[in-house]
């Protein structure tokens, strides 16, 4: 059947079972939008800025496990996507971004709204394409979805000149992909699996360090089986949170720069680290030379390039976390590690994650109340900064993908648009966007999207009047010179009201629970502006350049050596 390029785009998306696209139109991409009414089964969510489209697709993908799709026009539309695509790239989020390009005849002439989109996105995509004939479009889209969702997932960008969209060609969707250079290894090498199992069986103080790869591979069950079979405690990275139930007896939280002290001590004390689907990010490891100094390391990851990149590995296993863990578990001898667990329990009792006594409104208190009110059933989406770390620390996440946060890129402004995607993907879940006043102001125009799409996102702004995380560093390492971090905000409740979204401001402890109850009682969106203690800092903290064991638990402002 003959179809235009624009029709082929939608037909292909339907073949890939895409149900929603987050996008924003413009001149070059009109052909795609013009044919959208022919596909009433396709939902299009109009964002207010293309960065929001990419973050929404990202949030949708993390929450559902499906490929998130965003689209934008040529030039500024494409460049506005860049931050969102990079965010997805660093956190291995499956995404297909479709951009329109100027007509083939003028490519390379600096035509109006022409940018080298594939050039710009080359280092921030898993792969990208400039489609130069309509006949190859279906194949390119087939490959894009395959690449985005398989192996180590990531964003794939497809740039399509407007005349390629307008031209008609014979359409059939390919059944198979032919990518000779792309063959992800799924099954772990049998001999390596055996070595790993032996090492685990012999370890006195083993520790599982689980990352986002566990959630991506859907390996929660296998992870839990391994932990329980060998009585092995588990800590997770920021993005691994929820891949092992945090209420489980074997869970010891998150290590790293703002991880729990007991989790850091666990990494420091372990004699074997079993790292699964994680990449030893510097925010997690602290000073590399001081990372897990007593431990041998087993590293399970689907990306061979991650193995040995940052940390010396004793047993590397390239493969899909689910398959590898499944194979390892079969060779685990049931045994206890009661001494080790006793030690970890003692560290946890001695160094709990607590909230200090304070007459004012503490951000940690607010976050704990949100958690309590939702019984842990909500999906929490965050911005970037102190509030993000508190949200990671002070809720107990038992379900995979119940904390959605920007890890690798640390993108302020991620929270609100990502919540759009999460709520679209999981309409029956309670979705809380816990955002900072700074982060929120970067993308708060997406309130318009929330209002237009009637999305019941609950928004909690942790309003400290500062770019708090940067202020904290200035306080600790720059003698409290708070340059460019005090931040005035608008009246957030009025801003919400202007979009037709109800809201409340809370300045005292007594107001917290009623406001949260009120938000949960509303069917639609609701915003709460929590005006909190302005100079509260995030602890524990492993100062930059320090080892995890050098974790600081108490504020010692101005006395920390860098």
């Amino acid at each position: 059947m003959k179809m235009t390029g624009a029709q082929i785009v939608w037909e292909s998306l339907l073949k890939e079972e895409v149900e929603v696209v987050f996008g924003f139109p413009g001149g070059a991409i009109i052909p795609i939008y013009d044919t959208l009414p022919e596909y009433p089964q396709m939902r299009h969510v109009l964002v207010r800025h293309e960065q929001g489209a990419a973050h929404a697709a990202d949030g949708y993908a993390r929450a559902t496990g499906k490929v998130g799709v965003c689209m934008a026009t040529s030039g500024p539309g494409a460049t506005n996507l860049v931050t969102g695509i990079t965010n997805a790239y660093l956190d291995s989020v499956p995404m297909v971004a479709i951009t329109a390009q100027v007509a083939r005849s003028v490519i390379g002439t600096d035509a109006f709204q022409e940018v080298d989109t594939t050039g710009i996105t080359l280092p921030i995509t898993k792969h990208n394409y400039l489609v130069l004939d309509t006949a190859s479009l279906a194949r390119v889209l087939k490959e894009s979805f395959h690449l985005a969702r398989t192996g180590r997932p990531g964003p794939v960008l497809v740039d399509i000149p407007r005349d390629v969209l307008a031209e008609a060609t014979e359409y059939s969707y390919p059944e198979e992909v032919n990518l000779p250079g792309y063959k992800p290894v799924l099954e772990g090498h049998a001999a390596q699996v055996k070595r790993a199992a032996k090492m685990i069986n012999e370890a006195e103080r083993p520790l599982i360090l689980a990352g986002r790869g566990v959630a991506i591979a859907g390996a929660h069950r296998e992870l839990r089986e391994l932990a329980e079979a060998g009585e092995i405690p588990v800590v997770t990275t920021l993005l691994g949170i929820g891949s092992f139930p945090e209420s489980h007896d074997l869970s010891f939280g998150m290590p790293g720069m703002h991880g729990a002290a007991y989790a850091n001590l666990a990494v420091d004390g372990a004699d074997l680290i079993i790292a699964v689907g994680m990449r030893f990010d510097d925010r997690l490891t602290g000073r590399l030379s001081g990372f897990a100094p007593r431990a041998k390391v087993i590293h399970i990851d689907i990306d061979p390039a991650e193995i040995g990149k940052n940390v010396r590995v004793d047993v590397p296993i390239v493969g899909d976390a689910r398959q590898v863990l499944g194979a390892v578990v079969k060779q685990i001898l049931p045994r206890g590690h009661s001494e080790w667990l006793k030690q970890l329990g003692q560290w946890r009792d001695e160094h709990p994650l607590s909230v200090r006594e304070c007459g004012g409104l503490l951000p940690q208190y607010v976050i704990r109340q949100i958690y309590e009110a939702t019984g842990g059933g909500a999906i929490v989406v965050t911005g970037v900064g102190q509030h993000q770390m508190w949200a990671a620390q002070h809720c107990c996440y038992d379900r995979p993908n119940s904390l959605i946060s920007s890890g690798g890129l640390g993108t302020m402004g991620f929270g609100l648009p990502a919540s759009v995607g999460v709520k679209v993907g999981c309409p029956d879940d309670v979705v809380w966007c816990i955002d900072g006043d700074g982060s929120f102001q970067m993308t708060m125009q997406e309130l318009g999207t929330i209002a237009q799409e009637k999305l019941g996102v609950k928004i909690a702004i942790i309003n400290n009047g500062y770019l708090g995380m940067v202020r904290q560093w200035q306080g600790l390492f720059y003698e409290r010179r708070y340059v460019a971090t005090p931040l005035s905000g608008p009246d957030f409740v009025q801003i919400a009201a202007a979009y037709g979204i109800p809201g409340l401001r809370v300045t005292r402890r007594e107001g917290v629970v009623p406001a949260i109850e009120r938000a949960l009682g509303e069917d639609g969106p609701f915003l709460i502006d929590f005006v909190v203690e302005p100079e509260e800092d995030v602890y524990p903290m492993v100062p930059p350049g320090a080892a995890l064991a050098e974790v600081i638990e108490e504020p010692v402002r101005g006395e920390v050596a860098v």
């Binding site: 050039g119 080359l122 280092p123 898993k126 792969h127 690449l147 250079g181 061979p304 390039a305 193995i307």
Partner: protein, 90 residues
């Protein structure tokens, strides 16, 4: 220990693929001493069609070269990367 290494990469003969390779060198800070590019048609080997062969001479530690090899293999259009012994090595 730093020594010379020779990597041979086979790439799909597509526009932009050399750019993808050089982008990895640049971004990950690998220092390339010599690069040679040849279309495999010119090699007279019928098993290698529609491919480009790139030979890279790089000096660095074994770990660094392993990392470079893996980063190159990650490029979708790169079909295969192998290391061949440098001169003077067995």
């Amino acid at each position: 220990m730093t020594s010379k290494h020779i990597l041979v990469a086979l790439l799909e003969d597509k526009p932009g693929v050399l750019n993808r390779m050089s982008s990895v060198f640049r971004r990950r800070g690998f220092n390339i001493e010599n690069v040679n590019v040849i279309d495999t048609i010119n090699l007279g080997d019928s098993s290698l069609t529609n491919l480009t062969r790139v030979t890279i001479v790089v000096s660095g530690s074994k770990a660094m070269v392993t990392q470079l090899k893996r980063q190159l293999e990650k490029i979708i259009d790169v079909v295969k990367v192998s290391e061949i012994p440098a001169e003077g090595e067995a």
